[in-house]
């Protein structure tokens, strides 16, 4: 059962997908439990692999031939990929539970009064598509081949496209198209970068990228991959897709969209910084500058929002730039902290977005100005939002606090050891966190504090959501707090890989 452990984490979800479609006639909506069970199993597998790695220190390597020696499906579970995969799997599982009521509500809102069979069809279709996310994410985490990573990165826009088109909000088909076109845009550059690597090394293996170190081609490879990464991470000036795509998706996958965007940091580290450390140096300062601009721009953009979902979406732009700033500082602390912050961010963003979903689900209102005073009727939801806000603003004991601290230690170190420009960026970035505090806690004030909207006072539907929606989010919050109190376990794993980078 524990053989081919990494492969199982990729394959199991995608196998559950047709099982749901086939099983819907027999089990109806209960077929969704196939997805939840599959994801629970997959999460446990990842947890087991992580514990094994912690105990032995030996990375898990699984070799699978695919299309000749150039294109393999070899998988690597090391100190970098396994913690990332574990947290992502946990989020997928939590959201699979959370989505139960939410997606029912969306189906009703979009398709109106429909018969039971059609409703089941829509419901199970969502879960069948949803399972492509964990497959894609696990593939990106574990693949050791550029074509493999490309393949899994390109799987991800498919469920995004279809779920958006079928279950999204405003102008959903057009936004689905925007999402797909941006994915294709990024993919094109990724493919070109991969082909350049192959042209020079006759291999698509990630390990072979290091052969380009010190050659002029390294610059072009880094440039091509960086365009993809920046497009995925919504770095200014590629940010424009994020508010639409992030905000108009059903919120039960919005947390995964944050993963979809943020995983590009992992890709950058794996494909560019580890193998081409020296060549990446000249990109460090421009990327840190762009990250700072994105942090401030994203934060101001967030402050300017009145739509609760666009608020969460725009904050992602700003938050993603933190990880990028840390990793691009090219210090070990910056990289460790940036990756740890990435995990903290995806957990906090899942909580914030899902809570926004709860509010929209309960009140039917997205305009924050029409909300207000909800804390009186929705105390648990308020607590969840505040926990998410604390995570985004980097308050202890959330995991983003140690992430931010370690990351900024690295960023300041880069400033003190390197150019004055980096020190200025470091100081400006630390001060810019204030904007995160402002938009996070201002949203608490607008949505939850103040007098209760009269419309909600008598509305019996305006109350905390069912436990199936809040418990998964509480579990994510508990994980974020646990990691905040005990970051050592994850940081030690990261460091197994980061220590090998010649910095």
């Amino acid at each position: 059962m524990l053989d081919h452990l990494l492969l199982q984490t990729i394959i199991i979800p995608v196998l559950c997908s047709p099982a749901i479609i086939l099983g819907r006639r027999v089990f109806g909506k209960k077929a969704a439990w196939i997805a939840r069970a599959g994801l629970l199993y997959s999460t446990l597998l990842t947890l087991f692999a992580t514990l094994q790695l912690t105990a032995t220190g030996n990375p898990l390597i699984e070799n699978y031939p695919f299309a000749g020696p150039a294109v393999t499906m070899n998988l690597l579970g090391d100190g970098l990929s396994l913690p990332v995969a574990l947290i992502i799997n946990l989020l997928c599982t939590a959201l699979a539970f959370y989505a139960d009521h939410y997606i029912d509500h969306r189906i009703e809102a979009i398709y109106g009064e429909i018969d039971q069979k059609t409703s089941v069809n829509h419901y199970t279709r969502f879960y069948a598509l949803f399972l492509l996310f964990p497959t894609g994410f696990m593939g990106v985490c574990f693949a050791t081949n550029l074509i493999g990573i490309y393949f899994f990165l390109e799987i991800l826009p498919l469920p995004l496209y279809f779920i958006m088109a079928m279950f999204g909000y405003v102008d959903r088909v057009r936004v689905a198209m925007i999402c797909l076109m941006w994915a294709v845009f990024g993919a094109g550059f990724f493919l070109v970068g991969s082909v350049i690597v192959y042209y020079h090394t006759a291999s698509f293996a990630v390990a072979s990228i290091a052969q380009l170190a010190g050659t002029p081609s390294a610059f072009w490879v880094i440039s091509m991959f960086l365009i993809t990464i920046m497009a995925k991470m919504a770095v200014v000036p590629f940010q424009v897709w994020m508010p639409w795509v992030h905000a108009e998706h059903p919120t039960c996958i919005a947390g995964l969209l944050a993963v979809y965007a943020n995983i590009a940091v992992y890709v950058m580290l794996r494909l560019l910084i580890i193998p081409l450390t020296g060549d990446f140096q000249i990109f460090s300062l421009p990327l840190m500058t762009l990250a700072l601009i994105t942090m401030v721009y994203g934060a101001l953009l967030t402050l300017g929002q009145t739509d609760i979902k666009r608020f969460a979406a725009c904050s992602t732009i700003s938050q993603l730039a933190y990880s990028m700033l840390g990793v691009c500082s090219l210090t070990k602390a910056g990289i460790d902290g940036g990756m740890f912050f990435f995990l903290g961010h995806i957990m906090s963003k899942t909580i914030i977005f899902s809570t926004a979903g709860i509010i929209v689900y309960t009140t039917g209102i997205r305009d924050m100005r029409q909300l207000g005073g909800l804390a009186r009727k929705m105390p648990l939801t308020t607590a969840l939002w505040i926990i998410g806000a604390m995570g985004l603003a980097g308050f202890p004991p959330m995991s983003s606090f140690p992430g931010e601290w370690i990351m900024f230690t690295g960023i300041f170190k880069a400033g003190l050891m390197g150019s004055t420009s980096k020190l200025i960026i470091a100081i400006a970035a630390a001060a810019a966190i204030t904007l995160s505090v402002v938009y996070c806690f201002r949203s608490v004030k607008i949505i939850f504090y103040g007098p209760l909207n009269e419309k909600f006072a008598e509305d019996r539907h305006v109350k905390d959501p069912p436990l199936s929606m809040s418990l998964p989010l509480l579990a994510v919050a508990a994980t974020a707090v646990t990691l905040g109190l005990f970051p050592k376990y994850i940081l030690d794993l990261f460091h197994q890989v980061v220590a090998t980078i010649p910095l």
């Binding site: 953009l301 300017g304 602390a333 402002v438």
Partner: protein, 673 residues
Amino acid sequence: MQLYAWLAIILPLIGIPLIWAGARINGFLRNTAAVAFPIMAALCALRLFPLLLHPEQLPLESSRIWITHPFTLEIGILLDPLSLILTLVVSIISAVIAVYCLGYMKGDPGICRFLMLVNLFIGSMLLLVLANNLLLLFVGWKLVGLCSYGLIGFYYQDDRKYWIGGPPGEAPLTTPSFCGLKALVVTGVGDLIMLGGILILYGYAGTLNLMALYHTAPVWFPEMARNPNMVILVSFMLLAGPIGKSAQFPLHEWLPEAMAGPGPVSALIHAATMVKSGVYLVARLMPIFYIGRWVADCPDATIFFTITAWVGAITAFLAATQGLVAKELKKILAFSTVSQIGYMWIGLGVAGLTQTTLVAGTSAGIFHLISHAIFKACLFLCAGSVIHAAHSIYIQDMGGMRRYMPRTWLCMLIAAVCLMGVPPLPGFWSKDAILLAGLEAHHIPIFIIAIVTVALTAFYTTRMVGIVFYGPESRHLQDLQKKSPSHEAPAIMWGACALLALMILALGLGGPWAEHLLHHNFTLNLTETLNLPVNSAEPHPFNYHLLVTCLSIGGILAGAIPAWLLYGSRKISILIQPKSVINELYVLFWRRWYIDSFYNRVFIDGTLKFADFIALRIENNFDTLLHRRLPALVTENLPNLFLRLKTESENFLYIGAYLMAIIMATIGFALWH
């Protein structure tokens, strides 16, 4: 001994889930949990008191590794005179206030949340003062800020009765939720700049452990000083956090609004404890910069002390002037808090300006911290009782309250006299020690500001006591007596006030002994443990101590006598002409020197307008360009272009397709190999 320090931190935190669980069963269990754990924490702290009598045993440290990669960080506690004094002050006053809360908050639907936040605050504050490194200190720092936010905005539903500001028609009113946010953001600005300073310090020192920072400073400080202006930059950045937390100029504007929280919150957080964390941190960082100045011989390090002293002096004066005209009872006390903390900053600032004032300035600043914590907590608790009884936050709605609340009056009078600095109460000893240190440092402008502020303090304190407790009853109070007569606060509330008043009297009588104890502790700590070089003071041409005492008492009389005649005995009255200088000054002080309105206009309105500009103009236009116009261009115009090309060159499309096929085949071939 270290175990008691750990327990003092942990016990209030254990109380939090137990309060929640107790509330699910009954109110008694909830209340028991709410007071038992702070009291146990105070007992643990008291168990540490003997260490202050034997300071040669200090410092004591206990720590464990938190993370080892990418660098080693530990969590631990440090027991030295500074942390011990703060631990005692915080834990004992917190325990007294926790008991008071049970009476004050009785019947409030949010009492469980309130008590949980109070316990979290106590644990976090003790973590802050006992931390042995800057990381853990920063954790406590952020957590107390968060608790403060939650407690200021406690009445989050923003019922009109909880709005502060005004009186209605005279000044704008503010909601509790806004006040909480303002406090969080303003202090947050300072916190994050300070974070940068800490990380630069870490970049040079390679450690965050406080004792290691002190001991290695002679090595790394000169290295930092080699970088032009780096010491000045770090000084500014490190002081930004304490300036924000202690509500010092220019980040002082949040504290008056923090009075939107319940009365005990103002006493606990915004008078006795949290606002002192800035003073504590300055005292913590002082040895580093002292070493930089007097051991490493880096003149830039003086800037740390100069900023501290001047910020303190400016704030003490600014806030006192605003206290002169304030109309809300708690706001007068808030301005007073800001002003008095300014005195502490003066003490710490002048401590490092010369080698003769280190111990005197430090012990004076910390002594004033202790005495202020007690008398201001007492004043705030009494103010809470008075507001409860008068059903109004404005002093003009009170008057003659002495006859309804004799016990509260007596307690408040003792605390108010102490605030003015009347001998032999502790406020006198501690304030005089600061003034003396200022004079000995030969910082005459700061000394003069401090003396002027003594007179202002005496004036606003007497005015407050006079209007609230003496003179005729206000119309509001007369109306209130017809509906529900005012009466003395419940025993649990006045009992807490009386306990604090007794502490004031005790500390006053033992003032010289306490001053000596502090002096002895800091002498041992700073000169022997940390090995800081000090010189003994040069003989003065005349008795500085006598001069300071005379000037101080003269200042008190200069402020208190006119205030008493105007507001207490009401034997004189002034008619202020609309265009007179006094009126101009009144408006300036009432408008808070226009600083708050400037901040509102520039930082709040400015940021929000800029955010709207980005969201509505830049982003929307960019979005339209990329997601509307570009697709339209491609889908509508490109086919026309192709059609035109097809007409002009029949084979164009075929050639394009052919080229495409070749590119695809090349990629396919590359993949195959």
